[in-house]
């Protein structure tokens, strides 16, 4: 007996660590799989090591990136290192991986013991049983767990693709907002100069109180717009910091230049097909559908037997004679009321539901692709027109107004007014430019497999 126990203990001490190691390897394999997929979809190298959870400071690799300033790709790398939501998503992937391992295991046998203390001998019953259907349902369990793991993997990928797009959009928003601050500052300068000149004229008695008050009001409005632009700059910066996973602003610089002459190229002609092919939402639904189909394909008897069936060996001590007896134990439900049909029908209905949802998502993806493609094309065309014609004409008007001023046909206020209009048109062009690139980011996110949030460009689209 002792030898047996010792052997059992030895086996356990060997098997347990091996089992844990196997689980950890499974998790690592899943992470590698996702990292490879991320690289395939986004051309980004997945970081080799995450930051330590709970640390306030960014990890050394992130600090090195931040110190030199970030371009768009570097910002994404920092996010992959520091963003805790990404880390959480990967841990959840690990949960699914562990579940997959567990799904492949045979259920533990059940040992039962009952002791009734009575005279002259206690009534003792012992039993060891193994769930019966489990032996036959292991394959289904593994199929379902595989499906859940596919869902989890696709969800993590979708989350990663979404975060990379959000980081791109956030850096774009930060850079565009800085430019808006510059334009608002120059507008305020023009308004201040107009107020200054009017004040001088007013002191000399050359203009009315009304004219001075009107200029002061205009200057105040310009100052308000500047303050608003500066406040939005801080907000955009915080949005980026959140996505990068930084607990505080290290003052890093965004190094990607604001190339206002560059506009996104037209999307590929086969975009819709690629969106459907790469869709991680569809991949998740496909996995769920597989699982539902697997459940729906089970015979009814499997549904009836469920987990209540068991086969085992029992032993008992007779309380009168005091002798032991041993024999088989079998327990099965009798399918009188529940024949398993409802469970099967439910499984089929679930499969149909997933199928319908998948079908709907295909339509939605096609529509979203068309909408975003059309939006990007329209915004790009308008941004191009604004840059190529509107801005050059606005500048021409300023110069020709200056010529009229030099010819003493008009006053300085007319020039400053045209300058303010020129800046307003620059803001319009900037809004269109940013919205065109934002539409492109959304389109890229869709192409890489993740559905974007419905982004309504607030300024240029009349929002």
């Amino acid at each position: 007996m002792r030898t047996s126990l010792r052997r059992a203990a030895l086996c356990t001490s060997l098997v347990l660590p091996l089992g844990c190691a196997q689980l950890e390897q499974r998790r690592i394999d899943e992470v590698r799989l996702v990292a490879h997929e991320v690289g395939e979809r986004t051309a980004l190298a997945f970081p080799p090591k995450w930051a330590e959870l709970g640390a306030d400071e960014p990890s050394p690799p992130a600090q090195a990136l931040l110190a030199d300033g970030l371009d768009d790709d570097e910002a994404i790398r920092v996010a992959l290192l520091e963003n805790r939501a990404i880390r959480a998503a990967f841990e959840r992937l690990g949960v699914a991986a562990y579940d997959r391992v567990r799904a492949g295991l045979i259920a533990n046998p059940l040992f039962s013991a009952t002791v009734l203390l009575q005279n002259p001998f206690p009534d003792i019953e012992l039993g060891v049983s193994q769930p019966l259907v489990d032996l036959f349902r292991r394959s289904l369990r593994m199929d379902l767990a595989d499906a859940e793991l596919d869902v989890a993997r696709a969800a993590v990928l979708e989350h990663l693709v979404r975060v990379t797009s959000q980081v791109r959009a956030a850096t774009l928003a930060c850079r565009a907002q800085l430019e808006r601050v510059r334009l608002a500052h120059e507008t305020a300068v023009a308004a201040r100069e107009a107020e200054g000149l009017t004040t001088i004229l007013h002191k000399a008695g050359n203009v009315t109180d009304l004219e001075l008050s009107t200029r002061r009001r205009a200057r105040t409005l310009a100052e308000l717009e500047l303050l608003e632009a500066q406040a939005l700059t801080a907000e955009r910066r915080e949005d980026l910091l959140t996505l990068l996973g930084l607990s505080s602003d290290t003052g890093f610089e965004l190094t990607t230049r604001l190339e206002l002459d560059q506009l996104p190229a037209a999307p590929a002609a086969d975009l819709e097909a690629r969106v459907l092919e790469n869709s991680l939402g569809l991949a998740q639904l496909d996995a769920r559908l597989r699982g539902a189909r697997a459940r729906a394909g089970l015979p009814r008897s499997f549904n009836v037997l469920g987990n209540n069936s068991a086969l085992g060996i029992g032993a008992g001590k007779d309380d009168v004679v005091g002798s032991w007896g041993v024999g088989p134990i079998l327990s099965v439900p009798i399918p009188i009321f529940d024949t398993g049909a409802s469970m099967q029908s439910a499984a089929r209905a679930e499969a149909l539901a997933w199928f319908a949802e998948r079908d709907g998502l295909v339509r939605e993806l096609a529509s979203t692709t068309r909408r975003l493609a059309a939006r990007q094309a329209s915004l790009s065309a308008r941004a191009a027109l604004a840059r190529s014609e509107l801005l050059s004409l606005a500048r021409k008007v300023v110069i020709e107004t200056l010529q009229q001023y030099n010819s003493m046909q008009i006053g300085a206020f007319d020039v400053l007014h045209e300058r303010e209009l020129e800046l307003k048109h620059s803001r319009m062009a900037l809004d269109l430019w940013e919205d065109a690139w934002r539409a492109r980011i959304d389109l890229d996110q869709l192409r890489l497999g993740a559905r974007p949030e419905v982004h309504r460009p607030s300024r240029s689209m009349g929002g």
Partner: protein, 446 residues
């Protein structure tokens, strides 16, 4: 006809004319200020007046006289009404209406008693007609489109023919859609010399036609709809610094024949350094005893005035309209009042607020004076084809006057040709800054 017979005929006619005038005076009839011919004289009996013999041709500064032929005793002229690309001064051109390639039309010059036949060809794209302003002629020759004749359609040539029954300074101009066509420049001078001058001929005669235009700065066509804000004022369709100066030798008698066909404005014409007499209106020559002295005399729109004076004061003397806005070219009226403030503050403000301004460079000569050009590839300081606030260069700096402005140069002797330089002032006759000694001597606390 030999000269002695001519002289005898002339003397006889003069006697007739003088007698006619005397008879008129004696009977109390109104004298004919614009006639030296008797009313019953037959102009056909008179030979066409000859330049240098019967009259001294007037000089139309920046202009020319309309040539003519004598056919059958009739002076035949040809006016061609057409679009002309006209230069008001260097730097300002516009598409105008004119005659024979010129704006304004050439001066028609003839002698009282001449019979004139004027062909008018219309090469404009619109109909026109020509009115002979102030002339006494048959009603059908008066040139009022729709009233006394049908209009001259584009491509047509009309004939006007009538005897000249008067002398004086007159004008001709469009009388169809005249607001627009006159605003575009379709006008000219018509000078008729007296057949029998009652007074010595002036030594020099200059003819000026005053007009006004609205040409938006940077544009190339006058605005015929303008009613009040004209910005280019001209002498013979030229604006200073594009006006040709007039000259006289000390002691010469000078006559200025001035007609005004400005659309809306009268012009008080002022001459520096001299007193002149208003010697004639478009109604006729004033008797010597009726003339009055002026230094500034109004020439109303639609009128002519002749001024006479003796150029007895050597120097460079401005001759200009004394409406101050009429001696500014293309002056803007949208400026804030800049009196009492430092105007450089405005340029400084623009340099801070408008990056394009700094690239333009500085204008020479200050705000008024010359146009400035920025550095290579920098935008020009002023709109193209503009002369806003540009004056002329004088011997002491910029003369901040443009528009209806010219100079009378009076010299002891005049060089050959017309190019008379600046007046060389005798020592001590030029105003300059007062020295401290002078101020102290005269007790001036500056």
């Amino acid at each position: 006809m030999n000269s002695s017979r001519r002289e005898l005929l002339m003397a006889g006619s003069a006697a007739l004319g003088a007698g006619a005038l005397a008879r008129q005076g004696a009977t109390g009839a109104k004298p004919a200020y614009n006639r030296t011919l008797p009313r019953d004289a037959d102009p056909a009996a008179l030979a066409p007046g000859q330049a240098g013999v019967d009259y001294s041709p007037v000089v139309t500064p920046n202009g020319v006289a309309l040539p003519f032929k004598v056919i059958g005793g009739v002076k035949v002229f040809h006016l061609i009404a057409e679009e002309v690309d006209h230069e008001f001064a260097r730097g300002l051109r516009a598409h105008c209406y004119g005659f024979n390639g010129r704006v304004h039309g050439p001066t028609i010059e003839a002698v009282e008693g001449d019979r004139v036949r004027i062909y008018v060809t219309n090469r404009l794209r619109v109909p026109t007609s020509i009115h002979w302003h102030g002339l006494l002629l048959p009603n059908g020759m008066d040139g009022v489109g729709g009233l006394t004749q049908r209009v001259i359609e584009p491509g047509e040539t009309f004939r006007y023919e009538f005897p000249l029954l008067q002398h004086g300074t007159y004008m001709y101009h469009s009388h169809h859609d005249e607001m627009a066509q006159m605003a575009m420049g379709l006008m000219g001078l018509f000078v008729i010399h007296p057949r029998f001058p009652q007074a010595p001929r002036p030594d020099r005669e200059y003819a000026f036609l005053l007009s006004e235009w609205r040409i938006a700065v940077g544009s190339r066509r006058p605005d015929p709809n303008e009613m009040a804000d004209f910005n280019v004022l001209t002498l013979n369709a030229r604006t200073s610094p594009g006006t040709e100066p007039i000259v006289a030798r000390v002691g010469e008698r000078v006559r200025l024949r001035i007609g005004n066909l400005s659309g809306m404005s009268h012009h008080p014409i002022h001459l520096h350094g001299h007193t002149f007499e208003v010697a004639a209106t478009d109604g006729g020559t004033l008797p010597v005893t009726a003339r009055w002295p002026e230094v500034t005399a109004l020439v109303p729109t639609g009128s002519t005035r002749d001024f006479e004076f003796v150029a007895d004061n050597p120097g460079d003397w401005p001759l200009h309209c004394h409406m101050t806005h009429h001696v500014m070219t293309q002056m803007g009226h949208g400026l804030p009042i800049l009196e009492g403030v430092d105007p450089t503050l405005f340029d400084a403000a623009l340099e801070r607020a408008v990056p394009a301004y700094a690239a333009m460079g500085a204008a020479p000569g200050g705000g008024m004076g010359g146009h400035g050009q920025g550095a290579d590839e920098a935008p020009a300081m002023s709109p193209p084809n503009s002369l806003a606030m540009v004056g002329m260069r004088g011997p002491f700096g910029f003369v901040t006057m443009g528009g209806m402005f010219t100079v009378l140069k009076v010299r002891q002797s005049l060089p050959e040709g017309r190019n008379v330089g600046w007046y060389e002032h005798p020592t001590g006759t030029v105003s300059t800054s007062a020295s401290p000694e002078e101020l102290a001597r005269d007790g001036i606390d500056a």
